[in-house]
Symmetry: C2
Amino acid sequence: MRILIHTQKGGVGKTTTTLNLAAALLRQGQARHVLMADLDPQQHLTAMVVTDPAQGESAQALPVRGEPGLFLAKARPDAPDAGFPDFPSDPDAWVFLDTAPGWSPAIARAAQEADLVLCPLEPDFLGLSGVGRLLQRLEDLGTGRDRLRFLLTRYSARLALHREVRQRLQAQFGDMLLPVEIRNSVRLAEAPGMGMTIFAHAPASTGCDDHRTLASALSGTHRHK
Amino acid sequence: MRILIHTQKGGVGKTTTTLNLAAALLRQGQARHVLMADLDPQQHLTAMVVTDPAQGESAQALPVRGEPGLFLAKARPDAPDAGFPDFPSDPDAWVFLDTAPGWSPAIARAAQEADLVLCPLEPDFLGLSGVGRLLQRLEDLGTGRDRLRFLLTRYSARLALHREVRQRLQAQFGDMLLPVEIRNSVRLAEAPGMGMTIFAHAPASTGCDDHRTLASALSGTHRHK
Ligand SMILES: Nc1ncnc2c1ncn2[C@@H]1O[C@H](COP(=O)(O)OP(=O)(O)OP(=O)(O)O)[C@@H](O)[C@H]1O
Ligand SMILES: Nc1ncnc2c1ncn2[C@@H]1O[C@H](COP(=O)(O)OP(=O)(O)OP(=O)(O)O)[C@@H](O)[C@H]1O
Ligand SMILES: [Mg+2]
Ligand SMILES: [Mg+2]
């Protein structure tokens, strides 16, 4: 299952979602292996995970400390447009690509190869700007809307703005909007500083619940692929 | 006074700061004209302001509705690396460049021409990642640290994480950290959807106070340039 995690807008939770969704799938047994690749030149995903070569690396991937089954692909600066990396020892592995905001040939190529484009959105005007452009780009690539899912992040149900945006997105996009929101939680912002996923840093937090629900929503829809 | 508003990280408040700081300077009489230019290919600043050609445009700039003295430079897609635009009718005009996250030749050129590089930061691990890289890039360009100022944005004093990051930045950077935080406020996230600055949308909000304080901090330091 190849998932491209991409939004045109910056700072909406792409990297946070990549790492914590991967950990949720593994901890709930919905995946045996997840390989993440950091397509963002800023390398934020790479900066926030601690890899542990001692656990046995392969030529292409390093195991992530504390999350059995989770790997980070080695950077391939020589082949930026290489698309989704392979995980030779498990053809059923889930592969996630984290990306930078904006657009690039590498993102375009990955969007064509992806089973799913997961698009985190912050529920406000600036957060949503770029959705129209992304839809157009995917259409131009021949990536059907059935392969696109929106995910509301940094969500606060107590804010009328967030509730209104959610209602508008539901009305406009129906099932393309995933039935789960990643709620705003300082625990999610703390975890990267500890080199941990939300599950290792704050097991009782809403961040864990929400990423578990997200993992179930995604593995449910695609289990019968 | 030429200010480049730039951070390597996405979604930290670059565009929000560009518009609302400009409006604060004008409303407090610290500037007579402010010209903003949108260097971000995503054109978010352009999307959130309403310009009013009827008020008299020049070949290069459009007046922003509701904010006398505020202009948006016309996009110059043919000259992406053109640097800071001029405001011919007022040599004392402040000129702001909003940018995309990441780095580019246009940003490098603007950083060399700028009187000040204003760097909004979200107070957490991912928000700060890239600070080291930015410092290195500016050093390579010969832009001294005296021309760099950090601004904490989306700040919540009730969060220990935010207080700790602020203390750490103060210890590490001293006066380079501006003595004002832009507090987290849903009003700031609502305003762009109305095509307004924070002053027009919610005159009694903390967003107004904070951007006024920021305007005073910046015009004070540079008035005697
Ligand atoms: N649900 C959440 N609750 C609180 N903070 C969050 C949440 N999701 C993300 N954050 C914080 O918001 C900021 C943006 O998140 P992140 O860096 O994952 O976004 P991004 O889309 O990957 O950004 P970029 O465009 O720079 O790659 C980070 O500082 C992160 O810690
Ligand atoms: N102080 C604040 N309080 C609440 N929300 C804020 C604040 N500052 C910015 N925001 C919201 O945070 C998001 C990011 O802000 P903004 O788009 O200005 O950042 P940016 O750095 O320009 O992003 P990009 O890297 O995509 O250009 C927006 O949705 C904005 O409405
Ligand atoms: Mg990221
Ligand atoms: Mg912006």
